[in-house]
């Protein structure tokens, strides 16, 4: 591919993510996690990833594909996407590991220990790190805003010694709201078209 083709391909790829479906799915998952964590039933938090995995394909098939259709990107792009998935999964596993590690550190630490102080902000900061990964790999700058909201939320939680669920809830609300606005704009801009070739 020459420079112009690469530019066109990048534009088509970015356009494929302008429906807000990813933002709404990820944001809703964070909101659910935050709410369940704040209100007590921790088992409810396991719903969050399930919600994201179920909601995203539904939104794509019901809202996105009837409007902008379906595309299979070139091999090079699909390889990059696969790598992005693995990197995100690795960051997620690392985040989980660090979270568990800090949990035990906090449990065994004295009240004044740094670990005990920092732990409440950690979940939001780690999810923020995943959002930065998403922003880089998908070329979507708005994910940097979500990352900033999550990291700032984490810092505020640390400073106020508040519940970690608040930072996740705040980040989730920012992502869901932005996603819904994008989705509304997308639906207005692209009407449903007849998918059958005449």
């Amino acid at each position: 591919m020459d420079g112009n083709s690469k530019h066109l391909e990048a534009r088509v790829f970015r356009g494929n993510w302008m429906d807000g479906a990813l933002d709404v799915s990820a944001g809703a998952a964070l909101v659910v996690t935050g709410v369940f964590w704040l209100t007590g039933p921790t088992a409810g938090q396991t719903l969050a990833p399930v919600l994201a995995f179920v909601l995203y394909p539904i939104l794509r098939s019901k809202i996105t594909e009837p409007r902008i259709g379906h595309v299979r990107f070139a091999k090079e792009r699909r390889a990059k996407l696969r790598m992005a998935h693995w990197i995100m999964l690795s960051i997620g596993v690392a985040a989980l590991g660090i979270g568990i590690g800090f949990y035990f550190l906090r449990r065994d630490a004295a009240d004044s220990d740094l670990a005990r102080t920092l732990v409440p902000g950690l979940p939001a900061a780690l999810v923020g790190l995943m959002a930065i990964g998403g922003a880089i790999m998908l070329g979507l700058s708005r994910f940097l805003v979500y990352a900033a909201a999550l990291i700032i939320g984490g810092v505020v939680v640390i400073l106020m010694d508040a519940h970690p669920g608040w930072a996740l809830l705040a980040g989730g609300i920012v992502a869901t709201w932005t996603g819904l606005c994008l989705m509304l704009q997308f639906v207005r801009e692209y009407p449903v078209v007849n998918s059958v070739m005449e």
Binding site: E9, V12, G69, H70, R72, F73, S195, V196, M197, E198
Partner: protein, 110 residues
């Protein structure tokens, strides 16, 4: 002295099937992806269904694109992909146009 030092044969040899904005935009779209469906091409090119259908049929008849039909649940989906022949024709067209525009650009800047 010639007003435009353009190779007339090169101009005449431009692929007329591709030298049409609607078909060129379809082929340009398909050149950067592996496969795209009918709705995707409509959204990218801004063409109506009927218009797009007539252009893809011409491209298919020339062997530049292949068409495949499948069902996504209960909905039919028609997908298109550029053939090797189509990719070659598109690359050749771009090369010819670049050289032609280069000559014109050079002449205009004098």
């Amino acid at each position: 002295m010639r007003a435009f030092p353009i190779d007339a044969k090169a101009v005449a040899s431009l692929d007329r099937l591709l030298h049409e904005p609607a078909r060129l935009s379809i082929v340009a779209c398909l050149a950067v992806v592996d496969e795209a469906d009918f709705v995707f091409l409509q959204a990218q090119t801004g063409m109506t269904g009927g218009n797009l259908s007539s252009h893809v049929k011409k491209l298919e008849q020339a062997g530049y694109i292949t068409t495949s039909k499948e069902f996504q649940g209960s909905k039919p989906r028609t997908s298109f992909a550029l053939t090797d022949e189509g990719r070659e024709a598109f690359t050749g067209y771009l090369t010819s146009m670049r050289s032609l525009l280069g000559v014109l650009d050079g002449h205009a800047s004098k």
